[in-house]
Symmetry: C2
Subunit: 204 residues, 2 copies
DNA sequence: TCCCTTCCCTAACAAGTGTTTGGTAGGTTA
DNA sequence: TAACCTACCAAACACTTGTTAGGGAAGGGA
């Protein structure tokens, strides 16, 4: 039961759809969703605006597919980490590393998510953004609490503040990260973890 | 030589302008600049769209005034800190604290800046955003380098990565911060500094 | 009383928006 | 060859957008 183009009697190739989704994601990330016209996307893809509607239902549908497929892949990686039964510190390390790998693979999608998710989440179509965010909070906050209980994380900090601190430090990286840069995702994760866990001050 | 309404023979009161700027900033922050219509702003202010043009030149002019007045006030505080001749660690502490105070005072403006500055900076009208960002980088990066040289900050980290880390962790707070919440700006600054400087792990 | 200023409304404009409809070039299949 | 499918174009649609022009109500000062 296909979701797209149900009424129309056409079957666009998934490969071409993938290409178009990638270019659309780049434009959305660069200009913002609302500032991006379908004519701009089509232009970037070397075709006319109307032709996009052979492949997709709507502009919103394109955005939906970009975000949901990103989140699907993200949670595939996260669930694997969470199921591994690691200790709190090792779980945080694995989650952060996995996050930077996702940023590496889905830079545009992450940037879009960062900018638009807050007001998109109010729409029914994007309700899964709220679900994902809740699941996200549960995983990270739970791990941090486990760590405090096990005395591997500090207990003198507001735990929710700590959660937002760790979460934000990781994901905002998508705003400046460029694949193929000086540092690999793993190297960036290593340094970020070192800063988050041990701080940037010299120990006395 | 007034900048606005130069041709028209009118003189809107600064007080009313301030109110309208505040509501506009709230809507921009909540919905995004491009997704916000002037009709929505006017609606929120209890008037009709056209009436906004008695007070302002254009929608872009409103945005311009929100951002530039925020940056003016920000640099007033920053310059004071930088001129105080503090040590590197104390300078970072003062800058972070000052930043959270600005977030407290200009939450909406900061949120808009976060979301829109990247692609706004490409326009000539908003060239001052680029200048500000460069000045910003010079101040923070310079302080961090001073700290490494003075052996108060770690030397085994990529300094640019550290800069982005500290910068982002502070400013993304505007996305979740709400004035009048549980913690004061100073308290949030204190805990953030504690995390950034000493890490969240228990010292062994 | 009359005038002037402040502040907003009514009504419209032109440009740009996402989207639809019908058509067609080129390759594949029967 | 004929029928068909894929992937696009050309042209238009209805609607929303930022913006403008003219007018008018309320109030203060002369």
């Amino acid at each position: 039961m296909p979701k797209q183009n149900d009424s129309k009697n056409v079957t666009p190739s998934p490969a071409r759809r993938g290409e178009l989704l990638a270019t659309a994601a780049e434009v959305f990330a660069a200009q913002g969703y609302n500032a991006t016209t379908v004519r701009k996307i089509a232009d970037e893809a070397g075709m006319l605006a109307g032709s996009l509607y052979y492949h997709f239902d709507s502009k919103e549908g394109i955005l939906d597919e970009i975000l949901s497929s990103f989140l699907d892949e993200l949670w595939q990686g996260y669930d694997e980490v969470l199921a591994a039964g690691l200790g709190p510190r090792e779980t945080i390390e694995a989650l952060v590393t996995e996050s930077f790998r996702e940023i590496d693979r889905h830079r545009a999608a992450v940037a879009i998510y960062q900018k638009e998710s807050r007001h998109l989440a109010q729409q029914e179509r994007f309700a899964y953004l709220v679900e994902s965010q809740q699941k996200f909070e549960k995983a990270w906050l739970g791990t941090l609490e486990r760590g405090v209980a096990a005395q591997v994380f500090r207990s003198d900090l507001d735990i929710r503040l700590t959660y937002r601190f760790v979460r934000d430090t990781v994901w905002v990286a998508a705003s400046w990260y460029r694949p193929g840069g000086q540092h690999s995702p793993e190297e960036i994760a290593r340094q970020y973890l070192s800063m988050v866990l041990d701080g940037i001050a010299v120990r006395t």
